[in-house]
């Protein structure tokens, strides 16, 4: 088995991407898009004010202080630095170094891991089987369609551009371009250029989704008769999963970002991953959360850099609800902030697009508004909002237990349905929807994509409210720094930056591993540095690095072969003279690969020529005297001549046969040679030798 980590990703929206070589099959795990990279592009803003505010500062810089010109390279980034062109999208770079036609299987763990897949399936040679859960397929498809429809705005603004090479990259290669921008475009090592792609079209999405085989949780699918692949809930979001792969050479589990107790999706189903030979730990979330502690109001607890294994390996500690309660508190905090600003007459713009969070927020927000006296409408503006929200109420199988209880009592899974009916929540496909104008009312609470603040209705709304100190902007983690808010500065809005739990906390990893008991664990190098695995003696830990191939030796026993009973009964068994507790038989039939198992079944029965199956291999030794006796019994007389070996070798005996025809038999430790020109005598002698030796 070989693992190559193509990208360790970056947070919830950019999951890691791996290439796995298993049983000779090449498996790609996830195919994400680095959507944070589109921050280098300028959003479509109809407002001139922002640009005007930039130029004076630039000019003054030039005019007033010529000395400062030198420092222009290190100057503050301005809006004008952003690329004002139709955006391209950044994919996983090393993936382009692999021939798409050699990929056998693609496993998609969550909707974010699907966003880059149309780029791969566009390739005419692409022929891999794609597996993902039904919910991932549906939600992922909607996300891609939304992305395309939001991108269409750029098309309208910049006009069609069909050049195969983006002109904007050339401009960025200049010296005076800020380093930050360059880093995003060209990457750390400066060779990321090839990973930029023009966005796919709706047709590409459709043809991509046609190639998908959607599965349920815990459904076993068999690839090529060899690998049995199973998706198990990871708890990260609706439909997100980890993978369990069983093959003839052992079992493998892939653990991506997972959440033990979720308030909307099915919980992390770690019981199903127990006792595999190899576990690939691909949860990088703990690395991100420890770094970011920005001006955001909510920040995660700083992880202890060195966590030793706790001896208590009870599963309860994994399933404690502390984390999930904390998540609920965050959501409630957002609600209260929104209510506060609404109270003060300000609107709230929520750009979070994690579907689970949005669903919970919608429900919480509506409930809290209803219980208060505030009459504030909630708008959800997205081209796919209606379909997505309708869909989430028809998938009780994919939701957590509390939501399933609702099914039993006949309530819809998520409360938004009722509020939509009561006209408390309004859904609009776009900001220019005619109905939006008629029902528009401020203050309001708006859910609008995209979290990158470059696409979708959030751009216009942010533009509208950015000067209003009463209004509130709710952002995903890490957007406010760097380029994120650049086009909207100066900004007077209150900003609430939220980071949500999006993986396994590092403290829980040792406990998880001691519950799962894999034989080998592959962990990212960075995780290994932070955790003391020394206490886990039974488990061997291997490190993997981004863009390096790690070879893992096979640890399972020899593969098992199953033999059908009717075939086994047809085998002709031989008892051995020398060893009584052994039985051996030559095999028959055909060897098949079925359900990940080698199976020996009775095939087209070969008519063995008149059934005289003759042993083909012998072992043991032939004593010349006993051979003489045996020959005598069948009427062949011979005389023994002790070693006259020309080479002077030891124990070479020669038996001369005179009757019925002449010949000789050379007997040595290694073997016996029958030398005669008489066919009958030869086979008789052979029989005699066969009678003395064991063979098969």
């Amino acid at each position: 088995m070989k693992l190559t980590c193509l990208s360790k990703g970056d947070g919830f929206h950019y999951p890691p991407c791996h290439m796995l070589n298993l049983c000779g099959f090449r498996i790609l795990i996830d195919c994400p898009l680095d959507l944070s990279a589109i921050k280098i592009f300028s959003p479509v803003i109809s407002c001139v004010a922002s640009e005007a505010s930039k130029y004076p500062s630039d000019e003054s810089l030039d005019a007033q202080n010529p000395i400062q010109k030198k420092h222009k390279l290190e100057r503050q980034l301005t809006f004008a630095d952003l690329v004002c062109e139709e955006p391209w999208y950044k994919t996983v770079k090393p993936l382009h170094l692999w021939d798409a036609s050699f990929i056998d299987i693609v496993l998609i763990s969550n909707p974010m891991g699907l966003l880059g897949l149309p780029f791969l399936t566009q390739n005419p040679g692409f022929s891999a089987k794609i597996y993902m859960t039904e919910a991932t397929a549906k939600i992922g498809q909607l996300m891609m369609e939304d992305l395309v429809s939001m991108h269409a705005e750029f098309r309208c603004f910049h006009g069609p551009d069909n050049s195969s090479f983006p002109g904007w990259i050339k401009n960025l290669d200049r010296e005076q371009v800020p380093a930050l921008l360059k880093k995003v475009v060209f990457g750390e090592s400066g060779d990321d250029l090839g990973s930029w792609m023009r966005l796919y079209s709706l047709d590409d999405i459709e043809s991509c989704m046609k190639k998908v085989q959607a599965v349920k949780f815990a459904e076993e699918v068999c690839y090529n008769g060899t690998l049995i692949i199973k998706a198990l809930s990871s708890g990260l979001d609706i439909g997100a999963c980890n993978w369990l792969i069983n093959g003839p050479n052992g079992s493998l589990s892939y653990v991506s970002d997972s959440i033990f107790v979720s308030h909307h999706a099915r919980n992390f189903d770690f019981h199903g991953l127990k006792g595999t030979d190899v576990l690939i730990y691909s949860d990088f979330s703990s690395l991100q959360s420890a770094e970011v502690t920005e001006n955001g109001c909510i920040s995660p607890d700083p992880d202890n850099n060195y966590i030793s294994t706790t001896s208590s390996d009870n599963k309860d500690s994994l399933l404690n609800t502390e984390d999930s309660l904390e998540e609920m508190e965050k959501l409630e905090f957002i609600c209260s902030c929104a209510a506060e600003s609404a109270d003060a007459g300000g609107s709230t713009l929520i750009t979070i697009t994690r579907i689970g969070i949005v669903l919970q927020l919608l429900e919480l927000m509506s409930n809290s508004l209803e219980s208060s006296s505030l009459k504030v409408p909630i708008f959800v503006i997205s081209s796919v909002a209606e379909e997505l929200l309708a869909y989430t109420n028809t998938i009780p199988e994919w939701l957590c237990e509390q939501q399933q209880e609702k099914l039993i009592s006949g309530e819809p899974s998520f409360g938004h349905l009722k509020f939509i009916k009561d006209k408390k929540i309004h859904l609009f496909p776009a900001i220019h929807s005619p109905n939006l104008i008629t029902s528009w009312q401020e203050p309001c609470i708006i859910f609008a994509p995209h979290w990158s603040l470059r696409l979708g209705p959030s751009v216009q709304l942010l533009q509208r409210w950015r000067g209003d100190p009463k209004s509130l902007l709710v952002l995903e983690d890490g957007i406010s720094s760097g380029l994120g808010l650049l086009p909207f500065r100066p900004i007077a809005m209150k900003i609430l930056q939220c980071s949500f739990l999006s993986g396994i906390r590092l403290q829980k990893l040792p406990t998880l591993l001691s519950v799962l008991q894999p034989k080998i664990v592959l962990v990212p190098d960075a995780v290994n540095q932070r955790i003391n695995f020394a206490a886990m003696k039974t488990i061997s830990i291997l490190n993997y690095f981004e863009n390096k191939t790690l070879r893992v030796p096979r640890i399972a026993d020899n593969p098992s072969v199953e033999i059908t009973t009717d075939l086994a009964s047809k085998l002709s068994w031989r008892k051995l003279r020398q060893r009584e507790n052994f039985g051996i038989a030559r095999l028959k039939g055909g060897l098949l690969m079925e359900d990940g198992k080698h199976r020996l079944v009775s095939g087209l029965e070969q008519e063995e020529s008149s059934g005289k199956a003759r042993p083909l291999r012998h072992w043991g030794s032939v004593a010349p005297e006993s051979l003489l006796d045996a020959l005598l019994k069948i009427g062949i007389k011979g005389s023994l001549e002790q070693s006259i070996g020309e080479t002077g070798s030891d124990d070479n005996s020669i038996i001369h046969i005179a009757n019925p025809s002449s010949g000789l038999i050379e007997v040595s430790e290694m073997g016996t040679a029958i030398i005669t020109d008489d066919e009958n005598v030869a086979s008789q002698v052979f029989q005699a030798i066969d009678g003395i030796l064991d063979g098969i």
Binding site: K216, E219, A390, N558, L576, G590, Q606, T676
Partner: protein, 614 residues
């Protein structure tokens, strides 16, 4: 190893489905139904056959309910709450959601309206349902270490499943009720090609073969339309879930198209609420419905209203869906009592009516009066329409499924004995599969698959992955590939069996190889004076090729090789391998040959060719 299939209910009859199957020591109860036509103790399956002591928790590994019909789930609260079974129970999500409604509806009908003793209480139902584990289609569930179950789409009603169960190497499928064709709102049954020891199939329509259902749908719509057009009232007695939704979809659609304004009523709030479940469980409906769902949920009926008791005597036409089906009791029977005497009215009976119910009486023959349960008689002058499309598969469907799965054995349940016997003969003769039709209380035992497991060496697997064709043409060319014959199964007492390549056997046995070979220095008389060794070899090999079929000859400078046979030009004056040399003066060249015992015959064939000179 064997599989025992004990039929507790629905053996040679329809009603109280309950089959207990023992696979390699694991006991699974499939369905736990109630007989709608019985009032006495026969209503429930005879659970004492499973365990005399009543210790059901140890007797049964798990219960699996295929769908929410009373004859499949009806006895469950009784079994768990009264008999005391506490083990796991599995149902699909819709079945788990809808079964309590069905059970409660039935309980109310029986107790409130017919005045019977309570069989189980509302609390029983609630407690019972708490023990149920919901499963999704195709989800592979490990009930315990050995027992694995999986549900497949059965299409009979919302959430109906077929169940695959596997213990060790033995596997069975219990179909429950299923439908092999797509209907108005549900898809057709869908199952993987599995290796099965036993298939337990329903056989409601064991001899009927049905054509397209569209003409019959049209008949139904026209019958209802004609009735309401004439000012009559149409009564459709049905259970709360399933048929009601399908027929209502049909009518709602028709009303829309024909612009009919006659009201359609649902008898109780229950069915309206049932529609709520249908809306949520849309992923369990047919592809067609799912696709429409994006824009409009097809279970949002536009013309449907709630029915009020006072409307029974209201003038004017209407259509009423009333529970329960089969006119066995309750509200539908009450309405029937009032509406049956008028010739304007219509009673449309969907689906199957169990013997003993009023529905059954109406369907069999044309009675003018009908006895109700409490002794009152009702004149029947209304029209009776039998809705002749059913969510059960027909005989062709059963045969198709059986053929597709090709199990080693078939057991038929849930049908009427005469037609089941005909189907049994058909399966035995046409498909050559042993088929059983056990009666209630009987057990069928069949053999189960077991595999012998052995660890295979890499060398064996490697040799198996490359082709090893052998050609022989005794009478006609035959190609064989016996690559597995290189493998040897080695069994040592009290150890796991091993499969090794034949070259590895001695190593496994800790023995030394002993090669038995043959050798002969063969004289070849050469006619022409050719000094060239290569020419000689070439001539020889051509000749050998003519006589020895399928020989692959490798020639080299002074030797030729066929399989393990190797002949080398022997230049020695006195070779030990030489025999009886008639020292004739003719030009003789010697070929020193040796070959292994494996190629015994081949070697002699070649020698014989050589002896014939050139």
């Amino acid at each position: 190893m064997a599989i025992d299939c004990l039929v507790l209910g629905a053996g040679q009859e329809i009603g109280k489905s309950c089959v207990v199957v023992t696979i390699n020591g694991k006991r699974i109860m499939f369905d736990c139904g109630m007989h709608m036509g019985c009032d006495d103790h026969n209503r429930y399956p005879d659970f004492s056959l499973v365990s005399k002591s009543g210790d059901f928790d140890n007797a049964i590994s798990c219960i699996i309910i295929t769908h929410f019909h009373m004859d499949h789930v009806g006895a469950l609260p009784y079994f768990t709450e009264v008999c005391g079974y506490n083990g796991p129970i599995y149902m699909s999500y819709p079945t788990k959601a809808l079964s309590p409604l069905m059970l409660e509806d039935y309980r109310r009908v029986m107790v409130d309206r017919r005045g019977e003793d309570e069989l189980f209480t509302t609390a029983h139902i609630a407690n019972c349902m708490k023990k149920v584990i919901a499963i999704d289609l195709k989800q592979t569930i490990q009930v315990d270490e050995d027992l694995q179950i999986r549900a497949y789409y059965a299409g009979h009603v919302l959430g109906a499943v077929m169940v695959y169960a596997k213990v060790g190497d033995a596997a069975i499928v219990y179909t429950g009720d299923y439908n092999m064709t797509t209907d108005r709102h549900l898809g057709a049954a869908k199952i993987d090609r599995l290796q099965l020891d036993l298939l337990i199939s329903e056989s409601t329509y064991a001899t009927t073969i049905r054509g397209s259902k569209y003409p019959r749908e049209r008949e139904f719509l026209q019958a209802v339309h004609k009735c309401v057009a004439g000012g009559g009232k149409a009564l459709i007695p049905s259970f709360a879930l399933g048929r009601a939704q399908e027929l209502c979809m049909l009518l709602d659609d028709y009303w829309e198209r024909m612009n009919i304004k006659v009201p359609i009523y649902f008898s109780s709030g229950l069915t309206i609420q049932a529609n709520m479940y249908y809306k949520m469980l849309i992923s369990w409906t047919s592809q067609n419905v799912k696709e429409k769902h994006n824009t409009h949920n097809p279970f949002d009926f536009k013309n449907v209203k709630d029915f009020d008791r006072s409307l029974i005597h209201a003038p004017g036409p209407c259509v009423l869906f009333a529970t329960p089906g089969m006119l066995c009791a309750g509200f539908s029977l009450e309405v029937f009592k009032h509406w049956a005497p008028s010739p304007l009215n219509l009673v449309a009976l969907p689906g199957y009516s169990v013997a003993g119910t009023v529905g059954h009486k109406l369907m069999s023959g044309k009675p003018t009066t009908v006895d109700l349960y409490n002794g009152t008689k009702v004149d029947v002058r209304c029209k009776i329409h039998q809705v002749a499309f059913s969510p059960h598969t027909d005989a062709k469907g059963i045969m198709d499924l059986t053929k597709f799965l090709s199990p080693k054995n078939v057991v038929l349940v849930h049908g009427e004995k005469p037609s089941m016997m005909i189907l049994k003969d058909k399966i035995t003769s046409e498909l050559d599969i042993p088929c059983f039709v056990p009666a209630n209380g009987e057990t069928v035992s069949v053999a189960s698959t077991t595999y012998i497991k052995a660890n295979a060496s890499d060398m064996f697997l490697k040799s198996c992955s490359s082709p090893n064709f052998k050609f022989s043409n005794s009478t006609q060319l035959r190609v064989t590939d016996q690559r597995t014959a290189d493998g040897v199964l080695v069994i040592e007492k009290s150890k796991k069996a091993k499969i090794v390549h034949q070259d590895e056997v001695s190593e496994v046995l800790h023995e030394k190889n002993h090669v038995v070979s043959l050798a002969y220095c063969c004289p070849v008389k050469v006619k022409g004076e050719s000094d060239n060794d290569a020419d000689l070899i070439k001539q020889l090999s051509e000749k050998i090729l003519k006589t020895v079929s399928g020989a692959q000859i490798h020639e080299s400078e002074n030797c030729l090789q066929i399989g393990s046979f190797k002949g080398t030009l022997c230049l020695k004056d006195k070779c030990v391998h030489r025999r009886d040399i008639s020292s004739s003066s003719e030009a003789v060249v010697f070929f020193c040959c040796n070959w292994s015992a494996a190629d015994l015959e081949l070697g002699w064939e070649v020698i014989n060719v050589m002896k014939q000179n050139i």
